[in-house]
Symmetry: C2
Subunit: 237 residues, 2 copies
């Protein structure tokens, strides 16, 4: 288990390296001013956590010796959010931060007909995920995919069994609360500020996506993303 | 019912005035460039909605004649959030925006022992509520109270039956999902970045507040506020 009292660091190459470099090492040496002998925790973001003791510190590198290796349990749900990027990217980033705190599996920015933004920097979003994951003590990091046109995304994911589209004006919808299931691969599509076009909704439904409602309020795109993620998180509580 | 296709404006003095002035009038004339004969909707934020036709437009004043008067149903839950202000006020504002989209009744910024911020401008928070309420088509606006010291808040609300405190490290907690009930006056206390002090938790519990958990993730203050509000909103879906 992750100890909330001990600083958490990230090393994606945990299996082969027993040192941290780069921004993580800088944070440890210059910001937290760690000393030799300090206990820290390191995760690879893929469920592995090691508890170590710092053996040597320089400005850009922290060496350590491993005390304990833990394999942490996976998230009890497998939620892939496919969310149109918002015009104001800060709103999207805030959504990613909140969803990381709750926990989710993957995010794909889907570019829709009514999207006012078609460029999203996955790198920057990844940095937000990592900061939020460290802050909320996660050993599994969600994957941020490169953006993708909506119809391509739909075609690529035709074979996923549990797939839903959050639509605003549609008569026959079930609640996201009813479809939030644990231990299933699930995709939820969320549209842009101007909503999905009718032809996009038709195409998704023809491809097996089931319309869902997030309740009677008209939610912004990023609020819808947070609401979907929290609905799954609540099921795991 | 609020029509999502017709612009929504606010007039707190709906009962006595048949015109809008100030920022709302400016928005109507300069931004939306409304014309005489246009249909608009106006709410007082207390459940009343009127459907009107614009009869006269000047830069700072819109006159109208009323076509229809509606009394909209109240929110099916009565949730008072008492949340410690965050160090970065933007996070708090984002929380208020998201909670307004879902719907809640009142917010009191509570100043705690570990709070890094003791000044909150209720005026500014109110402007965020109003913008979010317009955007998400609400006819009931949540009330933003002036900030209050935690212990004073607890003493003032001793007689509310359903009152909870979200605590991080506490053995005996029930899930917020179980306590989210409709049609009851409910208060949920959420602590600052450094959490409540032990004496604050003890004082709340002695005063009848029941400890609740928001799940196994370590959530930021503003994320906790959003999660609590969404839990109540989901019960109403």
């Amino acid at each position: 288990m992750i100890n909330s009292q001990v600083p958490l660091f990230i090393n994606e190459n945990l299996e082969t390296e027993n040192f941290i470099t780069g921004a993580e090492a800088h944070h440890a040496s210059a910001v937290l001013r760690l000393r030799e002998g300090t206990k820290i925790q390191i995760t690879n973001g893929k469920g592995k956590l090691i508890k170590v003791v710092v053996t040597n510190i320089s400005k850009n590198r922290i060496d350590y010796s491993v005390n304990e290796i833990c394999e942490l349990p996976k998230l009890p749900y497998n939620l892939h959010l496919a969310v149109a990027p918002t015009k104001n990217i800060e709103r999207y980033e805030f959504m990613i931060e909140k969803c990381t705190e709750f926990g989710f599996s993957a995010l794909t920015p889907v570019i829709c007909e009514h999207s006012e933004r078609s460029i999203v920097k996955a790198d920057r979003l990844n940095r937000i995920v990592i900061a939020a994951a460290k802050q909320s003590l996660k050993a599994y990091f969600p994957v941020i995919n490169e953006s993708c046109k909506l119809k391509e995304f739909i075609l690529q994911h035709k074979n996923i069994e549990k797939k839903y589209i959050a639509v605003c004006n549609f008569d026959d919808r079930i609640s996201v609360n009813e479809v939030a299931e644990l231990h299933k691969d699930t995709i939820v599509l969320i549209g842009p500020e101007g909503d999905f076009s009718n032809s996009e909704v038709d195409f998704a439904i023809e491809s097996g996506f089931i319309p869902v409602t997030l309740g009677s309020s008209r939610l912004r795109t990023e609020t819808a993303g947070i609401a979907v993620c929290h609905s799954f998180y609540l099921k795991s509580c």
